[in-house]
């Protein structure tokens, strides 16, 4: 009997331990202040002007050189600002820098605003800008490789120069990249270790709870740009699109982006919530491996482009979060070739082209053959972007109607990269950014130039190469863009990669969130200072 009694005791002790652990976890991890926030988030009856933001990535770090940190701190938390801004047509406009010019082949000169202070009250001068940029160049190899800066020289308090190791027309564009946003010296402790972002933007860093990944920012009363709309913003990472949708529906967040595409119309119909669909600078594109036999034939590539129903895909796969695409650049971009029209579906034309290339269905199985070999291709893609796997399926089905058999494979990134390197693939569907920096040179070089970093198809056209090289030497923007337009026209004709659709972004917000303006140049979405809450 003694044993039985101790059983109960042990069970009781175990339960108690668990209970203590749980309650301690609840109280110790959260300060009193954040706790209040949480209740208000949920009940959503805040009187104050506080916005709860459902961010689409898990917030891992607030260091601007860490992964998504730069984008988060600059575009979503609006703590920092970049030297160069951009208009909705992607043309550049002054940011913290008022003007800039290329003085010689290897030197860019920038003039700074003279009335900007950091959140800690110190004035922003060329000296701070120099050390902020040098920090990024040292720690972020991508910025370093885009900027190609050999030195940064302070000319006077509000002027500095960037010397580049080679002719680099995209320097101002790179300085629009959120990672290059300017942070003050007090962002670092005495040992030079980064502690928190001290920027110049409309919102000040308040706290970051590393455990729950919640970033809180408060209004910067002394912002140089004038009045700031919100008192406070609580940014929490909710990586799952479904959960984001349910969170805004349940009133736990006031603003979020990219709920499942299929849910956009349903959520928009809910009282008090609006869904806005925009285009973002990213393309759903289908790369064709030009080293594989049928795809080296321009007629086959064009036929495939005619066989794909872009309108159907935009409507039924993307639920109109995205649009049919023509050239790689959004038609709203200032440098885009506006004459290009998306290929519209035309199975007859596709049939003619394929027949001309020698591909005919001789045995009546619905798949074309040439010299007894069936027209079979594989298509690989990945699942990190929700539109891709269903789009791959839809493309495969549409190509099949044109007599091309396509086998789709959704893969992990590691094995995908390996296959790309081995060349063991025919088609690759991906969603690629087209305005990492607002300048066409970067994308056209990487995508279409012989040996370009993202030239997966292995496309090589001497005409394209020379056009891009020529454009680099032209400083007049309109003249430059003319060359780029020509490149766009050529690749649209030759279709080394089929641009299927422009990527969309669904902004979901409560109706009481006012003053929001979508910024297409942002990397996901940008919180603007004018946003406020009116209940």
């Amino acid at each position: 009997m003694k044993n039985k009694r101790s059983t109960l005791m042990i069970l009781l002790i175990l339960l108690l331990t668990c209970a203590i652990l749980i309650t301690s976890g609840c109280t110790s991890t959260k300060g009193e202040e954040t706790k209040q926030n949480n209740t208000s988030q949920y009940n959503n009856t805040t009187q104050s002007n506080t916005l709860v933001l459902g961010e689409m990535w898990e917030i891992k770090s607030i260091d601007i050189v860490d992964g998504d940190g730069g984008t988060l701190v600059c575009e979503k938390a609006a703590i920092t600002e970049t030297l160069v801004g951009a208009n909705p047509d992607f043309s550049l406009k002054p940011g913290l820098a008022t003007s800039w010019k290329q003085i010689d082949n290897n030197t860019w000169e920038f003039n700074l605003k003279n009335d900007v202070t950091f959140h800690d009250g110190t004035k922003m001068t060329a000296k701070e800008v120099k050390s902020s940029l040098e920090n990024v160049i040292a720690k972020d190899s991508r910025v370093a490789s885009m900027l190609k800066a050999s030195s940064i020289d302070v000319v006077d308090d509000y002027t500095f120069r960037i010397k580049t190791s080679e002719l680099n027309p995209i320097v101002p564009g790179v300085l629009h990249y959120p990672t290059t946003a300017i942070i003050g010296p007090s962002s670092f402790d005495k040992d030079g270790k980064y502690v928190k972002p001290v920027g110049t933007g409309p919102y000040k860093f308040d706290s970051f709870d590393e455990q729950s990944g919640i970033l809180t920012v408060v209004r910067n009363e002394n912002w140089w740009g004038g009045k700031v709309g919100l008192d406070k913003m609580i940014i929490k990472g909710i990586p799952d699109p479904n959960t984001r949708a349910m969170s805004i529906e349940n009133g736990e967040v006031d603003f979020t982006a990219d709920v499942p595409y299929s849910e956009t119309d349903r959520i928009n119909a809910i009282d008090g919530i609006t869904v806005e669909k925009y285009k973002t600078p990213r393309d759903y594109k289908l790369e064709l491996n030009l080293k594989h036999s049928p795809l080296d034939d321009i007629r086959v590539r064009q036929a495939m482009s005619y066989a794909i129903d872009r309108q159907d895909i935009a409507e039924h796969v993307l639920y109109n979060v995205g649009e049919p695409a023509a050239g790689p650049f959004l038609p709203t971009m200032v440098w885009a070739n506006k004459n290009l029209k998306p290929y519209t579906r035309d199975l007859k034309k596709a049939d003619e082209l394929l027949k001309a290339a020698g591909w005919v269905d001789t045995n009546g199985d619905g798949i074309r053959e040439k010299d007894g070999k069936p027209l079979k291709l594989n298509l690989m893609t990945y699942s990190q972007r929700p539109g891709l796997p269903p789009m791959a399926e839809a493309i495969a089905a549409q190509l099949k109607e044109a007599g091309i058999s396509v086998e789709t494979q959704v893969q992990e990134f590691g094995s995908l990269d390996e296959r790309r390197k081995n060349g063991n693939w025919d088609l690759y569907l991906l969603a690629a950014n087209v305005a990492m920096v607002p300048d066409p040179d970067y994308i056209l070089t990487n995508w279409y130039m012989t040996g370009g970093a993202d030239n997966g198809p292995g496309y090589s056209n001497p005409k394209v190469d020379s056009l891009i090289k020529d454009a680099r030497k032209i400083t007049d923007l309109n003249e430059r863009y003319k060359k780029f337009n020509e490149v766009e026209a050529i690749v649209n004709e030759e279709q080394p990669m089929i641009i299927v659709a422009y990527y969309g972004c669904a902004i979901v917000k409560k109706d009481y969130v006012k003053g929001y303006v979508f910024d297409p140049t942002a990397h996901d979405y940008r919180i603007n200072a004018d946003m406020y809450i009116e209940k």
């Binding site: 299929s262 119309d265 895909i313 039924h316 796997p389």
Partner: protein
């Protein structure tokens, strides 16, 4: 851990060879729940076998304009997010799901039984080594383990079977080892050993037939669990290629449409649930019949 199990089984003495045969069948027929489960299982297998004949549409035909449809006369269970007929996909999906489930259980059962027999029968250093290996495989969270293996192998039906088998076999090995350990001390085995019978003969004739009951019970219940594992893996992002109809993958793909087109999750979800229920009832029933005194608690 293994000591406990060995002792537990020794104590319970799961040695009921006489329960095999006609008596067993009679007992099955006496239990209403098992009868129900058996009929349902046969129905499932029948549907899977004749799926290509009875499914109204090609399960992979995409019809974007008719996506996310609710059940209607034309599509009895509605269509999925690419306009594929759900009824056809669930019917053909039964083939995939059933073959994966049986494949995994068969492979892990065979391998696990062999390993468990070796460990339990030979004892000593063989047992020590194998027990450690079994422990290692058991202490790894199964989902994570399968996820990593699939990352190495890549997705696909065969790789899925392989990965889940690698995760599962240790459970069989552990149970088998416990059984063999207790059997080894039974008189009929000892007398066989003294009479000079070969190891293989003893294992085949005396050990396996007497030890297999709890392993079979585990296998039956596992058949359902494999289907659940596939669903979980699909949810975590490594499942099967999208064009292969499989219940778990369908359920996972449909979760985005739970609000707008709930049938895409309801039907595959129900199929999985019924399947798991059937095998739980069968497994539990078999255990009840073979070992009326077990302590596991009734499933139903």
């Amino acid at each position: 851990m293994d000591n406990i199990f060995a002792d537990k089984f020794r104590k319970e003495g799961l040695l009921l060879p006489e329960a095999y045969g006609s008596d067993f069948v009679k007992k099955v027929f006496q239990r209403k729940d098992m009868l129900f489960a058996l009929v349902a299982l046969l129905l499932f297998i029948g549907l899977a076998l004749f799926a290509p004949l009875i499914s109204p549409y090609n399960p992979n035909t995409i019809d974007l304009k008719n996506k996310n449809l609710s059940p209607s006369g034309e599509h009895l269970l509605g269509t999925d997010y690419l306009g594929r007929d759900l009824l056809s996909r669930i019917l053909i999906g039964a083939q995939t799901s059933l073959s994966i489930a049986f494949g995994v259980v068969l492979i892990s059962l065979l391998f696990g039984t062999v390993m468990g027999c070796a460990a339990g029968y030979y004892g000593g250093i063989v047992d020590e080594t194998l027990s450690r290996v079994i422990d290692i495989f058991l202490s790894f969270p199964g989902v994570i383990f399968a996820l990593t293996i699939l990352g190495v192998l890549g997705s696909g039906v065969f790789n899925l079977i392989l990965a889940l088998s690698i995760v599962q076999w240790a459970h069989y090995a552990r149970v088998m080892r416990g059984q063999v350990l207790s059997l080894k001390r039974q008189e009929f085995v000892l007398s066989a050993v003294t009479s000079g019978a070969g190891d293989f003969y003893i294992i085949r004739k005396h050990i396996v037939p007497n030890a297999i009951a709890p392993v079979l019970v585990l296998a039956t219940i596992d058949l359902g669990h494999v289907i659940l594992s596939i669903a979980t893996l699909s949810f975590l992002g490594i499942g099967l290629p999208a064009d292969i109809p499989e219940w778990g993958a369908m359920l996972s793909a449909g979760k985005e449409f739970m609000r707008t087109a709930p049938y895409q999750t309801i039907f595959p979800g129900l199929a999985i649930t019924f399947f798991v229920v059937i095998f739980s009832i069968l497994g539990d029933g078999i255990r009840d019949i073979l070992d009326p005194n077990h302590e596991g608690g009734e499933i139903y």
